[in-house]
Subunit: 331 residues, 2 copies
């Protein structure tokens, strides 16, 4: 027989199908002897429950949408990896939802999530825009928001302390002797970018530095624009904090193509601490976000949501990842 159903198991075990059902989903509600017998027969028959039938009847599946703007961004792909791993560990399956930062797509995924009876979803939003869609579906649904502080305290969030990260970067550069330190915000509009920008400004002032920001002229390619700004600045900053690793990579590439070497001519520190940074040229010093924990905690929070637990707001601490893209200023 090909795909044994619950009735096949019930018949073979000489019990009713409700007993088989209970043996799997509420083992404590079945006499030990019966349960073991049923599970044995089920194993012999190679039975496995139909998630589809279960979802239809119980109105709850194990399909967890992971909503990200762009999976080719290594931050999100590392996040996807850790989230998917944590999900599988707990018997969930991750549905990959790539929005390209488009609110309509996000909305579409959220409604698909309802239709699939997803127990909860994990959202790593790019911009404010995604969250409007959330507001429409998210509150009635169950959603965990990553890397984004949310106004609504009922939505659980997992974030990393931007202020601490920026302070780590700044203090590292200062300890190397840098004083003219610039910040490269990159593409604006994302909430985390804004957080880091603010933190830079604040922290620089605290340390008595004048906060230089390398804002590319609009219309330019971002990294080219930042390098232009850097070249024009007087005094020219001896170190740059990039708002994320991707910006740092692009910046170093652009500098390289103009004959400026990192860290010889200028130190660069990123923000994310992507594994890939260890294979960049030069190896990228960065503020490391605990991405593996973020994924795991997101799934745990979602899981807890099901048991009616209070929504939590977890703030993780970044660490410094010392590699080869920073050194003492040459002057």
């Amino acid at each position: 027989m090909n795909n044994p159903s619950i009735d096949d198991v019930a018949d073979a075990a000489g019990v009713h199908r409700s007993t088989v059902s209970r043996a799997f989903s509420r083992p404590e509600a079945v006499r030990t002897e019966t349960r073991e017998h049923v599970l044995r027969i089920a194993a012999d028959l190679g039975y496995s429950m139909s998630p589809v039938a279960r979802a239809l009847r119980s109105k709850s599946s194990r399909l967890v949408p992971l909503i990200v703007p762009d999976i080719t961004n290594p931050f999100f792909s590392e996040l996807a990896r850790t989230t998917a791993a944590a999900a599988e560990t707990r018997g969930y399956h991750v549905i990959l939802c790539i929005t390209n930062g488009d609110a309509d797509q996000t909305a579409g995924y959220l409604s698909a999530m309802q239709a699939m009876y997803s127990p909860f979803g994990v959202v790593a939003p790019s911009t404010k825009i995604d969250l409007d869609a959330l507001a429409r579906y998210g509150v009635e649904n169950r959603v965990v928001v990553l890397d984004r502080v949310e106004d609504d305290p009922t939505i659980p969030t997992v974030t990393v302390d931007s202020g601490e990260g920026i302070a780590l970067a700044l203090e590292h550069l200062m300890s190397l002797g840098h004083r003219a330190i610039a910040y490269a915000p990159g593409i604006v509009g994302t909430h985390t970018a804004q957080d880091r920008w603010d933190a830079f400004r604040r922290t620089a002032l605290v340390h008595g530095l004048s906060p230089t920001v390398l804002q590319p002229a609009p219309g330019n390619e971002v990294s080219a624009g930042i390098v232009d700004q850097w070249l024009q600045h007087d005094p020219r900053p001896t170190a740059i904090i990039a708002s994320n690793d991707l910006i740092a990579f692009a910046l170093i590439s652009e500098l390289g193509s103009r004959g400026v070497a990192v860290p010889r001519d200028v130190s660069i520190i990123g923000f994310d601490g992507l594994d890939f940074g260890a294979r960049f040229n030069p190896r990228l010093t960065s503020v490391r976000q605990p991405i593996a924990e973020m994924g795991r905690i997101a799934i745990e929070l979602g899981d807890k949501l099901l048991f009616g637990e209070q929504s939590a707001h977890i703030v993780l601490r970044p660490t410094l990842l010392l590699r080869s893209s920073t050194q003492e200023p040459s002057r």
Copy 2:
């Protein structure tokens, strides 16, 4: 009313639920007038079909597993992006399945795929091992294999012509004046790696070159091992073809940390043509695989499988992506 069911629509439209069902799934089997009326009412009510109930009854869902060894590898993440986009276009949803190259995990995903009534799956296997799992689950005829030539001709495949890609790389380097050209195979065991290796050997001989292979000593870190080999070689190769972009990145990083500059001291060409290569330092010249097409075609082939079409074997042609990591040899 919250989630209107098919019966709600039927009642509101004054027809039977079978008619509503047909209006959606086999429109041509319903009189135009009736169909338009039904669809209108359905839209008014905000009705959308329950994919779960449909899957249970029809034994077919729109959930397509995408099975990859590692999503943080940019080749696979770009593939995931294009595949997911193509899937959504046709009303499929991609389930992200990350195997870490583990056969058990692959097997688990394949059986989950059956349980979810997936119409087909897309597999980008890492090693031979993944395919054994495929065979065991008897889902051979519901799977599209990417980037891997399969022995069984009934399995549809999408691949890129390795021979042509290697020839493109070799001829590019030769046209620059290189004669001492080495190949860096990187991690072995994957089928495509083997293909490219063979192609290099063959093509080098055709061009009258002696095929130098930079095989890292076992136990070493791969990129360090390759660089060691390169340093020891006499005459020292003036150019290296990396078996994929990731190896090229790691190689350039390792060379950089030893004071060897690319392309000044040695030219490097990758294989994949990842978007990210444009942000590397230096910008990476590479053999470009048409990743967007691979994803799209994979979904199309899967789609066709459902209509009982013959399984196809699509071979795509690579192109040369000229950037900044190659130049004339200095000597």
